[in-house]
């Protein structure tokens, strides 16, 4: 057991830092800081991802044969940490980390050739069609139906909470291809071109009130949408297996680097907030204790992550323990957002309708205040999405504790 990185890892870390310094421009930082939900328009994300692609770092988790970065586990961790520490744009996961691993594992050669290069180069934007109005935590009850018509499927139904469907060229969907006693057994995994006739995307405005086109989620409607049969992944009615495979990727992210960045921001805000007599909020012991308590929680998180990464390096698989990361990571993240709202005091009240549009107006209160309360509101989603934290606890209870 030992702490600290090897010399070659330090060298790699400096390379990553150099790349971020050069590529993550002040303009990009400014644009991202205006976002209430972490998304800053298609152009910025595509531009960022194309720079990563050119550097060969777009896909840290892909095998090298498909153009993966060829990182060691330690390098992956360093890469993610450095990106999060600087608040660099997140790579949009739907193509890169969700559908791509499924295509690699279960797709045909034609599908691999057709889809993977465009994902790697960020030529095509993907979104995820899983949840439905009646199927959230109980995903297997989904109703969106695809009828096999020989050379195509006829898709009818709706998908909800579809993140950034407004930008998407393609959607991967779980659809019902047969009614079986076990609902999991009648589900298929379908790739659908968003330009197909019969698809409609309706924005859903959430609590952060980001207006169109900056809304985070949408509802997607399918009416008699024809999907070529060759867009089926693997076998018909085996989609649930592929979906479960994908969920492992959705839950396996490191939270602590981003959370540490949250602590740093919080300290900056507290340092900027007067409490009179020449003191700042950072001098207020009540508040300082909360920041530090939160930092300690993050450290506990960090070392859980490091232990998992170390196990991965040793060739072990990470199982349901990844639910610990999702549960604690999101809950600490929400606490950080609460503390930020607490820090800005009355500046939490003003509402800026479109932070992107109001960039030239003088802000009400400090610049950073405008997005803090919307971020707190929007952050409530994190304990709901990707398997609510109640579901995660069920998973830990069943699969880890055997209860």
């Amino acid at each position: 057991m030992q702490l600290g990185f090897k010399e070659e890892d330090i060298k790699f870390r400096d390379e990553v830092r150099g790349f971020i310094k050069e590529t993550f421009t002040d303009d990009m930082r400014k644009t991202l800081s205006l976002s209430k939900n972490g998304h800053a328009g298609k152009d910025l994300h595509v531009k960022w991802q194309k720079s990563l692609y050119e550097r060969g770092w777009m896909a840290p988790n892909w095998p090298e044969q498909y153009g993966g970065a060829g990182f060691t586990s330690t390098q992956k961790y360093i890469f993610e940490s450095e990106m999060a520490r600087e608040g660099a744009p997140r790579t949009i996961p739907f193509g890169l980390s969700m559908v791509a691993p499924v295509i690699m594992e279960f797709g045909s050669q034609e599908q691999k050739d057709k889809f993977l290069p465009d994902i790697l180069e960020s030529n095509v934007w993907w979104c995820q069609g899983y949840s439905e109005p009646g199927s959230g935590s109980d995903l297997a009850s989904l109703q969106c139906k695809a009828e096999n018509q020989g050379d195509h499927y006829l898709v009818n139904g709706t998908k909800i909470w579809t993140t950034m469907a407004q930008y998407a060229d393609w959607i991967f969907c779980l659809v019902r291809t047969s009614k079986t006693e076990k609902p999991q057994e009648g589900i298929s995994f379908l790739l659908i071109d968003m330009k197909s006739p019969g698809i409609e995307v309706r924005p859903l405005i959430t609590l952060d009130n980001s207006p169109e086109p900056h809304q985070e989620v949408n509802q997607v409607f399918f009416e008699d949408v024809k999907v070529p049969i060759e867009n089926l992944i693997g076998e018909e009615n085996k989609g649930w297996t592929y979906a479960k495979y994908l969920l492992e990727f959705e839950r396996g992210t490191a939270y602590s680097p981003g959370l540490y960045r949250g602590i740093k921001n919080l300290k900056d805000i507290a340092r900027d907030t007067s409490i009179g007599d020449g003191l700042t909020l950072l001098d207020d012991n009540d508040f300082l204790n909360k920041i530090n308590e939160c930092e300690i929680q993050i450290q506990a998180m960090e070392f859980v992550e490091l232990r998992i990464f170390s196990a991965l390096s040793a060739g072990q698989r990470v199982g349901p323990e990844s639910s610990i990361l999702k549960t604690r990571g999101t809950e600490i993240g929400q606490y950080l957002q609460e503390l930020a709202v607490e820090a800005i005091g009355y500046w939490s009240h003003p509402f800026v309708e479109d932070t992107f549009a109001n960039v030239n107006e003088p802000s009400i209160g400090p610049d950073y205040a405008a997005t803090i309360t919307p971020e707190y509101y929007n952050g409530r989603k994190t304990t709901i999405y990707a398997g609510s934290n109640e579901i995660q606890r069920n998973i830990i209870s069943k699969a880890v504790l055997g209860l």
């Binding site: 949840s131 009646g134 199927s135 959230g136 935590s137 109980d138 009850s141 909800i160 909470w161 859903l204 405005i205 959430t206 609590l207 009130n209 907030t273 007067s274 409490i275 009179g276 007599d277 207020d284 009540d286 508040f287 609460e338 709202v341 607490e342 005091g345 009355y346 500046w347 939490s348 009240h349 003003p350 509402f351 800026v352 309708e353 009400i364 209160g365 309360t373 919307p374 707190y376 509101y377 929007n378 409530r380 989603k381 304990t383 709901i384 999405y385 609510s388 109640e390 606890r393």
Partner: protein
Amino acid sequence: MDFSFSEEQTLLRNTIQSFIQDNYDFDKRQAIVKSEEGMKQENWKQFAELGLLGLPFSEEDGGLNFGSVETMIVAEEFGKGLVVEPYIQTVVTCGGFLRRASASIKEKYIPGIISGEDIWAFAYAEPQGRYNLNDLTTTATLDGDHYIINGYKSVVSGGPWANKFIVSVRTSGDQRDSDGISVLIVDKNSEGLSIRDYPTVDGSRASEITLENVSVSKDELIGEEGKGAELIELIVDETIAAICSEAIGAMKVLNDATVEYCKTRKQFGQPIGKFQVLQHRMVDMFMQYEQSVSMTYMVNLKLDEEYAERRKAASGAKVQIAKAAKFIGQSAVQLHGGMGMTDELNVGHYFKRLSMIENSYGNIDHHLKKYSSAG
């Protein structure tokens, strides 16, 4: 001891409930909030017709001479509808100052409130002061028979709708002294007053106000010059009692909506309310609500007690309500799942209002310190 409501009080509650039913369903409220003005003048007129705008004023001043329990009833029912019209700001807060002012001020201004003609807002907060009511850099200096005011007031709730302001100013002493604070009435149209209006995250409106050599007659002084701190603290405590009342109304709606949703929303072949982990969460929400109701009664019944008793009552209630507001608001969103995250459902709107009540007139840390120092 008796915690029941009189027939008259029940009648008052019923009146407001039917007003909310007729004028404040979700769509109607959304229309009001999204309108250019952000409130509805017709509603304000109806408040006047119902006598609500005269509730706490003495009969001599043209009011109904009701007490804090009646104010609590009104605020609680308004909380259930998320009413945005600035009733608390005008009647409870600014009305509270005016009720204690000189006969000439009462005569001059109270009729305008009762008739619905005037809307008032209290401009007290300053950016450097956080929640300290005494931390004032806005100054007023007497020049002959006028005060000349210079300074800046921040996040003035209901500011865009008000035509009159009550402003806390420093007439002497150092920035954070409790001595040397005065309370002045300032007309919105005063020369030198500039205002920036904006919406707030909870669907209300507020303003930033800059005062540059604003001249007001010394007759517009409420109370004694330099002795305003005590009065301000009293009025803020009365306001806290009212917003706690508003909060329990909003909490009640959220709890009922959440229980109802969990009874009807089915996942895994059964209503999600059958899952014990959600049941216990709702039980905790219910217990937080009941404790909040109790603390709200307590503070409303103790507003006339001597200082230390009142101080602890108001700060104690504010701490309980802020904690419950956060827990109930967040839990209601969580239990509604994705739907709780949308602007289309009322749940998020209640959550947001409650989240703003959390720090209005001081957050938990502030009131814990006040409570501790009250002895």
